[in-house]
Amino acid sequence: MPWDSATLVPLPVMLPLFAAGLTLALHRYARVQRIISVTALAAALAASVGLLVAADGGPIVVEVGSWAVPVGIDLVADRISAVMLTVSFVMLLCVLLYSLGQGVPEGEDDPGTTRGDMIPVAIFHPTFLILAAGVANAFLTGDLFNLYVGFEILLASSAVLLTLGGTAERIRAGSVYIIVTLISSTLFLSAIALIYGATGTVNMAQLAERLPEIDPTVRTALQLLLLLAFGIKAAIFPLSAWLPDSYPTAPAPVTAVFAGLLTKVGVYSILRTQTLLFPDNPTVDQVLMVLALLTMVIGILGAVAQNDVKRLLSFTLVSHIGYMIFGIALATEAGTAAAIYYVVHHISVQTALFLVVGLVEWRGGSTSLDRLGGLAKLAPGLAVLFFVPALNLAGIPPLSGFLGKVGLLTEGATVGTGLAWVLVVGSVVTSLLTLYAVVKAWNKAFWQAPSEEIESDVPLPRGMVWPTGALVAFGLLLTVAAGPLYGYAERAATASMDGHTYVDAVFPDGADRGRGESVVVGDDASDDAAQGGGHG
């Protein structure tokens, strides 16, 4: 067959990875690096949009290197993966353009030393692209061990990005970050080892078939171990303390990417764990509900206490992870759909806010609410850029944050257990406190008389303003296109909850089901390999 949507599936991983190699080799040529990075991410975005359309017809499966599943690794692009990929690449591209606007060409008088942070482009581009590849790999993979590899790729590159420049503050924040991520990765790998021991496979589709067959106690233990590992990555309370400590010190674009993406990869993994691998376990769902409530409330109380905008936003990030976990823990189609929509909304809005804060830091020379003031008068455009996503985060109608929350609350009320109602109330309270926190930031930074410390005439670089504006506009687009998008999320949720769509896509003819060993390498397997890659 001449062309097939399966061709698109590896592109979001391969393009950034190849581009990373190229930019590393061409580190002396900053301009070439920039062109390569932007082109690669734009192409990956195009591929993701293609997948978004193609995956609506059903999951697309690619066996990597034509090694047949379950022995080989497969990439699976279903609706959830495709929608996560698309929004991630939109956001990665905006952040890359923003960082290009922030970097000042060598030789010129350098405002970067006082305003915001200069980004060493030579290291930044390859690392950023590898991060993109790791994220794409995590979203696409159909193999638990490959998911671990995806995590390691993105965590290693994120550790490099977090400690760019190696200042004292970043090394301190970076140590906390890397220790926590190492622990979570080790837990994840232990979980994989135990799952492999219990089932003899790490292929997610095959796991979905085999896990129901094992002892329920062992199964719950495995599930909890996986959730523990993903919970650290997703920053669910009480595993969230590392996040507000480590994120705010990084350069603004890096914080924006981390806030938008890294925790969401954790949430995505929890979603897969709960819907595909361990679908029916009400006890664990209830535990998740309680944790979601605590994450929401304690996160937002932390945000209220902060007086640094970056830290305030980091705490709201923790808090709003609770909403997504709430949706997943409801374990219904509508709940999962609302969680998917909320993830998409939150990636765009949280990234936009961190980019705006980068601009605020550039304009006002600080992110401390004690030092800022009067920015609405000094930079009205910046005020608008902050105001829209801030209200969106708080869930003011008719913005996408409101729609996502309505979906969650409606489903919480429909489920109607006592715990669900507590969560509904908690969500509303958290939403109001979020409004309080962002309004406080707004009052301190944008209203008041202009602080004398703020110079009255600092032009904002256009290269930074446009990508931020684009991302804010993307957030509004999520509101305008909420109908089709929510419909897509509902179809995604339905397909992921029915328990067979994913598995049928990976094993179309029912072959290899129920085989006890993972060492099925023989004539039949090589026959499969010969025709591999033709699925979808």
């Binding site: 090394i171 021991g197 030092r371």
Partner: protein, 171 residues
Amino acid sequence: MIVLENTPPAILVLAIGVLFGTGVYLLLERPLTRVLLGFVLIGNGVNLMLLVMGGRSGASPIIGNAPDGVRMSDPLAQAMVLTSIVITLALTAFVLAMAYRSWQLHGHDEVADDVEDRRVARHAALNAPAFEDADDTEPDQTLDEEAADVYDDVDDSDADGHRADGHKELP
């Protein structure tokens, strides 16, 4: 029901336990190098666990190489261990570099507390607001006194003159 064909040797299980236990102990230390050693120990424990989960060893897993009737080793577990070793190596190198940088900067490599968190905690201990009230002309005023002042000074047009001293450096 899928069951491991044989129980793993007790000595290996014990070794995994010891590696995890000592690793966790070291993770709880402050210096980054000790934390790193803890991570390396746990990492080796996990690798050993993966290997044990692959089941009993056998002939080399190449088709046609093993004599008929002889069971082959599980190559997948070994492939996973190999990947994991490579990843551990890279991350170890990175953490070592970070410990060295920390030593360059501070003369030690201890992981410090969250500075901002300490600051907020100190404010809480003093029962002071984490935010400084920009409208507050006199410190230690109650809200009622402040309101009275504002009432007295409605005509005072110099409303933002106090903003410059609106922040102070906290230790």
